[in-house]
Amino acid sequence: MIPIEVYLIFAAVLFAIGAYGVVVKNNTIVVLMCIELMLNAANINFIVFSAFTADVLGQVFVIMSISVAAAEVAVGIAILLNAYKARKTIEADSLTSMRW
């Protein structure tokens, strides 16, 4: 049987890739995708712990968090569309009308 550490390291690497993408990417849609990666890393953690302790609550949590992520992306894409209509760009570097 594969030890639990392997799954946890996989999830941690996925989380780190997502966090890296959020920091360096300039396209806000790609940033939203990277946030999805981070959420899925947490979901994998829940599933792994749930499977190894034979406790179903973790799987319930994952179903909830998937639906929350879907709602968040739906709202996020709508807000990006709104910003594109107002500003004709959604590059993160262009969001500079307010600072300090």
Binding site: G18, M38, F46, F49, D55, F61, M98
Partner: protein, 497 residues
């Protein structure tokens, strides 16, 4: 007896602990229909006011009667939930009341706007009643996702579109961090019920997984309460959003993060304190350092702001730093006074935002220089604004002074013994002095500087009523803090068991 909660149990049966939220959910579902059938903003506001009033009535009945109940092991209504639900109801009441006459709120989608406001406050109340990590997570997300839309709803201003993009990305990042922390906490404790987690952790040694859970959750909820260094979204969002929405976010949405922090961290640490193997003190120090940096950065950066909404946003970050003292000190008295400060903050900061919103509606700009000579043009509003700003700075006998005395004294003495957090109280008092400077700039502009015109201005009636409510509470709570403080003390003793 006048206050008898058996009415609530008779109506709602097993769902009685959720009664205030159920009323608001029903309201949120019918409001768009009300708007599409009548096409009148006043009708929508009347219905949402009625719904909020019913919800408020149920909550006060349950709170004063000392009702306790739980639903499905996910929600439990106790003194802590009652007082926090009351806070969110006050916020939603003020926000819904002024939205109708504000020139910044949407005209086409006013029904949807109101139902989003109600749904966001339902999310906040879910967090207040939650007894499980699942319901805390869902409540915070319900409040956050609704807030993203509310910010983006000011379609006339390109700054709102930009603020909404920043808010949704930072909010998503915060969700991801929190969820990762929750998953680690679930892995360590093997359950999602908060009381069971505390019981399970008190039998364990400190582990690296628990450390990761703490770090990511502090970061995730740090974004929600806008603690430095996770605060960069807050000024942009408060500046870009419509002022009633800024008021709702600054006074309500920020408190959700605190309620979640109280629920998760305090409960865990009170249990963990029983076993000496836990690194409780290290995490208390982390919170103490975050609190000190948050209040200092908030106050210092606020000095250089020219936009009044942005200045209030930074001052709100500083206030979050004061409330974070609770997480460092972690005593029952500190929690009670922290909750009392959350209440007075609603009236002080809420009142200041309402005055700004009223003045924007009558055509005065957001710059501090636009406020010159306001005392001649609108003496009562200028007086109210001055009182709110004095209260925020902590001038006696106003509410901000009383709550700051409680909060800072909790960091100095614990049961007559001097605590190790006295340096935190020192930094906080120093910061109050700094904050007086930038509040006085606004008061000086209003009362001393000469304006270009002395034409009288008349603000809309709903704004005047909301400002009057805040004004009364800022004055009354300063002199009679026990009105709210007694409930806060009960609530704190519930969390500390």
């Amino acid at each position: 007896m006048i206050f008898d909660s058996s009415v609530v149990t008779a109506i709602f049966g097993q769902f009685a602990p959720l009664a205030p939220m159920i009323v608001l959910i029903i309201g949120a579902l019918i409001l768009p229909a009300v708007f599409f059938s009548t096409k009148r903003r006043e009708a929508v506001t009347a219905v949402s006011m009625a719904v909020i009033a019913v919800s408020l009535l149920f909550n006060i009945l349950m709170m004063v009667d000392g009702y306790q109940g739980e639903y499905a092991g996910l929600f439990s209504y106790d003194a802590f939930a009652g007082i926090m639900i009351l806070l969110f109801q006050v916020v939603i009441f003020l926000a819904a009341l002024v939205s109708v006459s504000s020139s910044e709120t949407t005209r086409m989608h006013y029904g949807a706007y109101n139902s989003l406001l109600l749904a966001a406050s339902v999310g906040m109340m879910f967090v207040a009643t939650a007894s499980d990590l699942i319901t805390i997570f869902l409540g915070v997300e319900l409040a956050s996702i609704m807030s993203y839309v509310l910010v983006a709803m000011k379609r006339s201003d390109p700054r709102a579109a930009e603020a909404a993009v920043k808010y949704v990305i930072i909010g998503g990042l915060s969700t991801a961090l929190t969820l990762y922390g929750l998953s680690m906490l679930y892995g360590v404790a093997g359950t999602t019920n908060i009381a069971d987690i505390a019981a399970s952790l008190s039998t364990q040694e400190f582990s690296w997984a628990f450390g990761i859970a703490m770090i990511t959750m502090i970061a995730g909820y740090g974004f929600k309460v806008a603690a430095v260094p996770f605060h960069m979204w807050a000024p942009d969002v408060y500046e870009g959003a419509a002022t009633p929405v800024s008021m709702f976010l600054g006074t309500g949405s920020k408190k959700v993060g605190f309620v979640a922090l109280f629920k998760v961290f305090l409960v865990i640490f009170v249990a963990a304190n029983a076993t000496a193997s836990f690194a409780t003190e290290e995490i208390q120090y982390v919170f103490a350092v975050i609190a000190a940096i948050t209040m200092t950065v908030g106050n210092v950066v606020a000095i250089s702001q020219n936009n009044i909404k942005r200045m209030l946003a930074y001052s709100s970050i500083a206030q979050a730093g004061y409330i974070l003292i609770v997480m460092a000190v972690m005593t029952e008295y500190a929690l009670a006074s922290g909750m009392f400060h959350m209440f007075t903050h609603v009236f002080m900061k809420g009142g200041a935002f309402l005055v700004v919103g009223a003045l924007i509606t009558v055509g005065i700009g957001e710059k501090i220089s636009d406020y010159r000579g306001l005392a001649k043009r609108a003496p009562l509003i200028a007086l109210a604004m001055a009182v709110f700003l004095f209260a925020l700075a902590g001038i006696p006998p106003l509410a901000g002074f009383t709550s700051k005395v409680f909060l800072f004294s909790s960091a100095i003495y614990d049961n007559g013994v001097m605590t190790q957090w006295i340096w935190l109280a020192f930094i906080a008092i120093l910061n109050s002095a700094i904050s007086l400077y930038y509040y006085m700039r606004v008061v000086k502009a209003m009362f001393i500087d000469r304006g270009e015109t002395s034409e009288r201005i008349k603000i809309p009636r709903t704004f005047a009523a909301a400002v009057a409510i805040c004004f009364v509470f800022v004055c009354v709570l300063g002199v009679f803090p026990q009105l709210i403080m007694d409930f806060c003390a009960d609530a704190a003793s519930v969390l500390f068991g």
